[in-house]
Amino acid sequence: MSKKHQTPLLDELKKGKWPSFVREIERAAEKSEMTDDLLGQVEQSYREKVVHWKHGGMVGVKGYGSGIVGRFSDLPEKYPGIKEFHTVRVNQTAGFFYTSDMLRKMVDIGEKHASALFNFHGSTGDIQLLGAKTSELETIFQEYTKLGFDLGGSGSALRTPSCCVGKARCEFANFDSMHMCDGITQAFQDEMHRPVFNYKFKFKFSACGNDCTASIARADLSVIGTWKDDIRIDQEAVKDYGKKFNLHQYVIDKCPTKCMSYSDEGGLKIENSNCSRCMHCINTMPKALRPGTKGGATILIGAKAPMVSGPRLSMVLVPFYDVEEDAKNDYAWFKDLISKIWEFWDEYGVSRERIGELIQRVGVGNFIESIGLEPLPEMVANPRGNPFVLYEEYVEADEEQKG
């Protein structure tokens, strides 16, 4: 390949035996001319320590308000190939399963109509096709539609829901995260493609506390698998692990709630009412321990990555949600809960305020009352820092007395 631009700084990033995005971009450049200019601009940015991309604009496909992330070079004369370099978000399959034939077809579209660079998958969960020109967007959209794919979310809309592989491959799964993710994606197509929210809203579904989608830190609404009954124990297998490592050091002492004990005679004992379902012991001894059989999920709300204000972890909203039961009704209970949350956010949220920030601003009490949930101890995220307690009924009685 004859290089248009000299890229000494980027070349440094090809050294070593690990994967290199520079090497991948160069490979893509063999199939797409624009990608040469991409290397040139990135090199210039590295040299000057200045970003040369502009955001936003009026790019999209007809009828859709999201799915395309508009990007333009601010040096279009120097790098004409990447004058327009939009990202197309394509809704991934639940659990990321594709046939190799389908992957080839998807990549063919990227080579023909864009930079041939993909992000499989973005941190949002979507498949991201990079480097599409404005004039190609409609064609790209049509081609993906023919394959049975639709655009994902972007902007002030519901973002593409995503989930872990759950029951398809993972023995830890406490509910069918793929089924639920697909069901919710189908139900809220309008909210995803036609932005009407104050800001973005993300759902992520992880079927156990290992939380492979990082939903507790990233999703406005996290659904994380848990179980109601006891951890299943195979005492013989526990003994076998004991021959390989020190059970006390690696398991018992590391239990965050200190609800485990072990002796050679009595075997492993777990006081399940104190277990927080953190998954540590199960991860360490997967052949000996398994989650209980009464699976479901905990629903949490309010996480976000740092953008407008700082990062937040989500708080518990519903300690145990019987997913399987609700799945029989097409997740009607869950959808109803979501509509109430969105109504509240629509009514009281301000522009660019995520739901977690709104809850913090108005107070958890006001929020849960508005959406019709009962306050529960599990909702308490932190011990209180304010020593003053206001009992409303006393205030009212006092007011009456004063007349």
């Binding site: 955001h55 936003g56 009026m58 308000g65 972007s154 902007g155 036609r194 629509d346 522009s351 660019r352």
Partner: protein
């Protein structure tokens, strides 16, 4: 909502956006609130306004833009 109200609603949305071109960027949510208030006497609901926006964007009379948040605009 009668067909006549629907037509009036769609016209009102487009003319509001036209009037404020280059002055104010209307988020879809702003339009919903604005129109819900304006047409409340005709029984227009949030969902009616949303479906009007949907028809206007599907037919290309309005398009979506993005600048820190999504907004509605006239096609360029």
């Amino acid at each position: 909502m009668t067909d006549e109200t629907k037509k009036k609603l769609e016209e009102a949305i487009v003319s509001l956006i036209k009037e404020y071109t280059n002055k104010k960027r209307f988020k879809p949510g702003d339009i919903v609130k604005e129109m819900e208030g304006k047409f409340s006497a005709s029984g227009v609901t949030k969902d009616d306004v949303k479906s009007a926006i949907r028809e206007l964007t599907d037919s290309g009379q309005l398009i979506y833009g993005y600048a820190g948040g999504s907004f509605l605009a006239l096609p360029e």
